[in-house]
């Protein structure tokens, strides 16, 4: 009996002392922010919750070729392409500004993106929220120079909220309520304002490759000529670059164009092959 007591005392105390050391240290891993809900700042066409870190300049080149159904003569669309170039810079942690130029409708872009909430590992916020606002300037020559043309007629705007959750290492999903305003529309049948809901996600196939999909459903659709945007693609990460290869029924690469003015129909093979290449440069570090 005595020996048993002594035995449990000696070994019990020693074990107790070991585990107790860890109990003195707080384990705050549940409150850690999750990293990289998406690889890039775009899911495919639309913005993701991610934005460049402070002091990081991101250069993105995007191409959308012609439709796959344009046949061998056009090399299934490769002969035609539209492009977008953008520069985004992280001014502070959670605030980025950007400028871009689209060859589609010769559109200039200025944007602001800010992180409102960050998803935590197990306790705390279950989602990340980012807000995005962009102004688009159509710089086409006036179709009718003889009439009175206002500068404001060239402008349109997009406002979006990105609500995303990283469910596990592989799966992230995002909802993107969007509001778009055009100062001038082409016909009376079109609305100046419209709302849309985007749903997108990524599934990592390997550590460096993921499958992405994205769909924008447009409410109060003005005319039947336009369709909803659906895009499927892959993200491939190679160190400082992220390559995104995809097929989509949208030729425009900015929000007003792909959410509201998509004309391609998947059912008729109006599918554009395209890619985004992003490269980051760390300009300031501290």
């Amino acid at each position: 009996m005595r020996i048993l007591f002594l035995f449990t005392f000696i070994f019990g105390a020693q074990l107790f002392a070991q585990d107790d050391l860890f109990s003195l240290l707080d384990d705050d891993s549940s409150l850690q922010e999750v990293s990289a809900i998406f690889k890039g700042t775009r899911v495919i066409n639309g913005q993701s919750v991610e934005l460049p870190a402070k002091g990081v300049l991101q250069f993105v080149i995007e191409h959308r070729f012609g439709t796959l159904n344009s046949g061998a003569y056009e090399l299934w669309g490769i002969d035609q392409s539209t492009m977008r170039m953008s520069l985004d810079y992280g001014l502070f942690d959670g605030l980025a500004i950007g400028v871009a130029r689209n060859s589609f409708q010769k559109t200039f872009e200025a944007s602001l993106k800010t992180s409102l909430l960050k998803q935590k590992r197990t306790s705390g916020s279950p989602i990340s929220i980012t807000a995005y606002a962009a102004t688009f300037l159509n710089s086409f020559r006036w179709v009718k120079p003889e009439r009175e043309n206002l500068f404001s007629s060239r402008l349109s705007y997009a406002y979006q909220l990105m609500l995303a959750r990283k469910f596990n290492q592989s799966l992230s999903l995002q909802l993107t309520p969007s509001y778009i305003h055009r100062n001038l529309v082409e016909t009376k049948a079109m609305n100046n304002d419209y709302m849309a809901m985007g749903i997108g996600g990524r599934y990592k196939i390997t550590k460096r490759v993921s499958f992405n999909a994205e769909y924008f459903y447009q409410f109060n659709r003005p005319v039947e000529d336009f369709t909803n945007s659906l895009s499927l693609g892959f993200d491939i990460e190679t160190g400082g670059h992220v390559f995104q290869l995809h097929i989509t029924n949208s030729q425009g690469m900015f929000e007003r164009a792909f959410i509201g003015e998509t004309t391609g129909k998947w059912s008729e093979g109006d599918i554009y092959f395209g890619f985004n290449i992003s490269r980051v440069f760390t300009l300031s570090r501290d």
Binding site: F5, A13, A17, L25, S35
Partner: protein, 179 residues
Amino acid sequence: MKKIFIISLLLSASQVMAQRYMTRNAEVYFLSDTPAIEVVEATNKQVGAVIDLSNGAIAFQIQMRAFHFKIALMEEHFNENYVESEVYPKATFRGSFMALPNDLSQENNLIVKGSMDFHGVQKEMEIPVRLQMKDGALVAESNFVLFCSDFGIKIPKLVADKLANEIQVVVKATLNEIQ
């Protein structure tokens, strides 16, 4: 019998409590030394450490997300592709000093033997530690080497010239007595 047990338990418990030193701000720095222009290095200043002088026990707890890099993309790759902090949010080391001298007023070069739990792999290690008592605080410093391959961290061939398998680790901790 019962009395003796309780008395001895109380005695030993009070002794244990009196000799514990702790910090939540120990520093762990690591470097992957390669000829690449952008060396991979990071610092974590929120490391928890406890040393119990009564029995020589030592414990470290390292949150992976608290490692900060000068380059944000490196930090993302570290968390996403290498240490997988989503699945393995922390690393721990628990062990004890092989021989703990009574006099710690001078710097002592000691060996700690214990188990490193990192990236889901447990490995027995012997780590050199310099230990000294300075102004009532216990100062522990260590330099040692870890191999990524020992802990199931794969380095793709594509980045083999930028990221070494051999990782140099520097630990600095100033622990204060728990009152």
